[in-house]
């Protein structure tokens, strides 16, 4: 075989290499730019509207004026109901999977498979399910508690997954150490495993809060549209995300106020998600420092 024509070959890679680099850089820039673009548009319209009066005031004229006070309270109450169900449910499920059944056993595979499938269910379907199950079968109607419980079902997979991986990341010898001292499994779980896995669980809860805050479709048929100050968990209450939807779809000239609400929601989610990142990095660092 003759010597390959080296110069002819060498040109192609360097051109392709540069092309790859250029296209890639452009694509990467797009994702950087996109976030800035969205925030810029929202801030341009919405930022002038935001004031203390806006954050605490009542909704007026279908949202064209006034504030979002009752909506923030409703959103908070929906979150409280959601976490009240999902924390025990998700932590309990993850504890059972990691401490009481063997990995790969049929029971474990069925439960994790069910949780994974749950994660794939579209949020509008959760809305329908919440409407008929919590709203009609359990007679909660359109209420904050119904919306919160629906969201709990939706973010359950996040919590199960993060808690499970936190428990599985614990040093394996904590279990024989507890057993060797004659501790009951309950003591080992409550006093040793859960405290050690707490950082991971908190990060999971924070991620779940971020997801719940941003959800709209699951809430329109469960917690409803009421814009009054909620007086109890049985009242209907409009979440902030539902307010944005309503302003954008049903209210003419609503986009200025919708921008303001979107900006507030975005800021809340930004804080929650950054908290999750900061917490997990902080705990990761501390772990590296001490182990």
């Amino acid at each position: 075989m003759a010597l390959p024509n080296r110069t002819a070959k060498a040109v192609f890679p360097s051109v392709a290499d540069r092309a790859f680099g250029f296209v890639g850089a452009t694509a990467a820039l797009l994702s950087f730019g996109l976030f800035a673009w969205i925030v810029w548009d929202l801030a341009r319209l919405g930022l002038p509207q935001i004031s203390w009066a806006y954050l605490t005031g009542e909704v007026q004229d279908a949202g064209r004026s006034g504030g979002i006070g009752p909506l923030l309270v409703s959103t908070l109450l929906i979150l409280v109901c959601c976490l009240g169900l999902v924390i025990p449910l998700g932590t309990g499920c993850a504890l059972w999977l990691s401490e009481f059944v063997r990995r790969g056993s049929l029971a474990a595979r069925l439960v994790t498979g069910g949780v994974d499938l749950l994660a794939s269910v579209p949020s509008i379907v959760f809305g329908l399910f919440g409407m008929v199950f919590f709203g009609q079968t359990l007679r909660m109607g359109f209420s904050i508690v119904s919306g919160g419980l629906t969201l709990a079902c939706m973010i359950l997979p996040i919590l199960v997954r993060t808690t499970l991986s936190a428990l599985e990341a614990l040093p394996a010898d904590l279990r024989p150490a507890s057993a060797g001292l004659g501790l009951t499994r309950t003591t080992a779980i409550v006093k040793i495993l859960l405290p050690a896995a707490l950082p991971g669980i908190v990060v999971g809860i924070t991620l779940g809060i971020g997801r719940a805050l941003s959800e709209t479709a699951a809430l329109i048929f469960t917690s409803g549209y009421s814009i009054r100050w909620p007086e109890s968990l049985d009242d209907s209450g409009r979440a902030l995300s539902v307010h944005i939807y309503d302003l954008a779809l049903n209210v003419a000239n609503g986009s200025t106020m919708a921008s303001a609400s979107a900006l507030v929601l975005l800021a809340l989610i930004l804080v929650v998600n950054s908290a999750a990142v900061a917490l997990s990095e902080h705990w990761l660092r501390r772990r590296h420092a001490t182990l």
Binding site: P171, A177, G182
Partner: protein
């Protein structure tokens, strides 16, 4: 600090300074014990008496079932799915360890264990004692005393008394291992099992822990698995040599430490102890 009153047992209190020369009371009596994992037999047909107050060393090459045997003594083998133990382990008060009705938690209080890798709970030093002591019913006001005397016993008190609220994970490897020994001692066990307690430590820390184990002689019964033959010879009163025969771990030699090391009757054990094999 007397023996705990969890059982009526007490008559087997170790003879002070009881040495390997006099035949003392037996604390743990094992007969025809086998440990199986599903269809694999780790160790088969062991019969061995461990005298009270003495140090019994189990030696042998890797994979000969020493650790499986050790873990069966306080039923830690229960934690391994598919693990089955047959035969008998009798305590001095007549308790049968392998019996399914035996109270496993109380048993593990009486027979403590220290593992190869130090495994303090990732919490404060104080909590490392609080949790097990509370679990086993010590009253609140006694717990601090128990912790202090256990920490003094392992020589750690002066090093940590001013930072009991700090994380146990921040201690050095040797300190962590001594903490784990103190944590086991705090429960006032009759026996402590050591599963290669020095092999994860540096030579200096290893020496400290070895001296510490030696100092327990006469106070309680010690069973130690070690790969370090010199160490076994230095601290043990009695020794048992494990070996793999036809794929199954078994015991080929046992007796007073000096006799086992100087005049082993089994040819494999002789070669192993002389350093020629294993």
């Amino acid at each position: 600090m007397n023996s705990p009153g969890i059982s009526k047992q007490n008559e087997s209190e170790a003879p002070p300074g009881g040495g390997g020369t006099t035949r003392s009371k037996v604390c743990l009596s094992v007969s025809s014990l086998s440990v199986h994992y599903r269809d694999f037999t780790a160790v088969s047909d062991i019969s061995l008496d461990m005298p009270a107050g003495e140090i019994t060393a189990l030696v042998g090459p890797s994979g000969c079932g020493k650790s499986s045997f050790l873990h069966s003594l306080n039923r830690l083998t229960d934690l391994v799915p598919g693990c089955r133990v047959t035969g008998s382990i009798r305590l001095s008060d007549g308790t049968e360890v392998t019996h399914p009705k035996t109270d496993v938690l109380a048993l593990r209080r009486r027979i403590g264990i220290v593992f190869q890798r130090p495994n303090p709970f990732p919490q404060s030093i104080r909590r490392n004692f609080d949790i097990p002591l509370k679990e086993h019913g010590w009253r609140k006001r006694d717990i601090a005393d128990r912790m202090e005397s256990a920490l003094r016993e392992v020589g750690l008190w002066n090093e940590v008394s001013d930072r009991l609220h700090k994380s146990a994970i921040a201690l050095s490897g040797g300190q962590q291992q001594r903490l784990c020994i103190a944590r086991a001692l705090a429960l006032e066990p009759e026996t402590i099992l050591f599963d290669e307690p020095c092999s994860a430590l540096d030579p200096i820390a290893s020496g400290v822990v070895e001296d510490l184990i030696h100092s327990l002689r006469g106070k309680l019964t010690v069973v130690i698995v070690t790969h370090n033959l010199a160490q076994a010879r230095r601290i043990a009163d009695r020794a048992a040599v494990f070996w793999v025969r036809e794929g199954v771990g078994t015991m080929v030699e046992q007796g007073p430490c000096e006799r086992v090391f100087t005049a082993p009757s089994d040819p494999d054990a002789a070669l192993y102890l002389s350093g020629a094999r294993g």
